[in-house]
Symmetry: C2
Subunit: 109 residues, 2 copies
DNA sequence: TTTTCATATCGTAATATTGCGATTATATTT
DNA sequence: AAATATAATCGCAATATTACGATATGAAAA
């Protein structure tokens, strides 16, 4: 169906899945890394750095904005993007919690 | 196109994206949480716990196996699934590194 | 050997994602 | 006002994902 049955999962599980989507495509990983590396906010420089069309980069930025992990400040004719600290922290906590909840002991070797 | 241009990204970026996919669907988050919660490996109990058809659960397990974060031990007529410690640790490191690489300072307010 | 059980795989349908060219929107510059 | 520059959106095509019923598989139990 291609349609996730979100209603049968907890809000936490759905949120983790959404946060994970921010990192679930190499282009978005690259964008996030670039936004962090250049302390200053990067804008359409992303299009130059990535070998992707402007429309494609814009679409990935839109998805990252939807998740909330970045936000853009319009500064015509440019838009300055940057990491959204509270949501980044939310992701840090969420992944830290779930990844830290496994004690390393696996039964079927 | 629906076809990711993996060749224009680094191996590290592609791997992070793949590891993130393990958590990018609530059903897979739920499966991983169940595998951790019950120290003993869960098998088709997953089908009972999740409100998803057996074929659907099996497909998610296949994806998690492809990523390498779980592995199954055939114990006819059941299959015992569990977290694969080295890959789980790889994910912990990878997400810890990227999520820890942002110092909290965001330029646009 | 036939049944039975648990799981994997197949086939199919519906929706989502990825990517890009073309166009639109918005505000500055000339 | 017209031209320019940047980024968002539209429309489209191709592939991927999600989900499930039905069937196949493989080994134990009857």
């Amino acid at each position: 169906m291609g349609l996730t049955k979100t209603e049968i999962f907890t809000a936490q599980q759905n949120r983790i899945a959404d946060l994970a989507k921010a990192f679930a495509h190499p282009a978005r990983v690259a964008i996030l890394q670039l936004l962090i590396a250049r302390k200053a906010c990067v804008c359409g420089d992303l299009v130059d750095e990535l070998e992707l069309a402007q429309a494609t980069v814009s679409q990935h930025l839109k998805e990252l904005k939807r998740i909330g992990i970045i936000h853009g400040e319009i500064n015509p004719p440019r838009v300055c993007y940057c990491i959204n600290p509270p949501v980044w922290e939310e992701a840090r906590q969420a992944f830290g919690a779930i990844l830290g909840s496994f004690d390393g002991v696996s039964c079927c070797n």
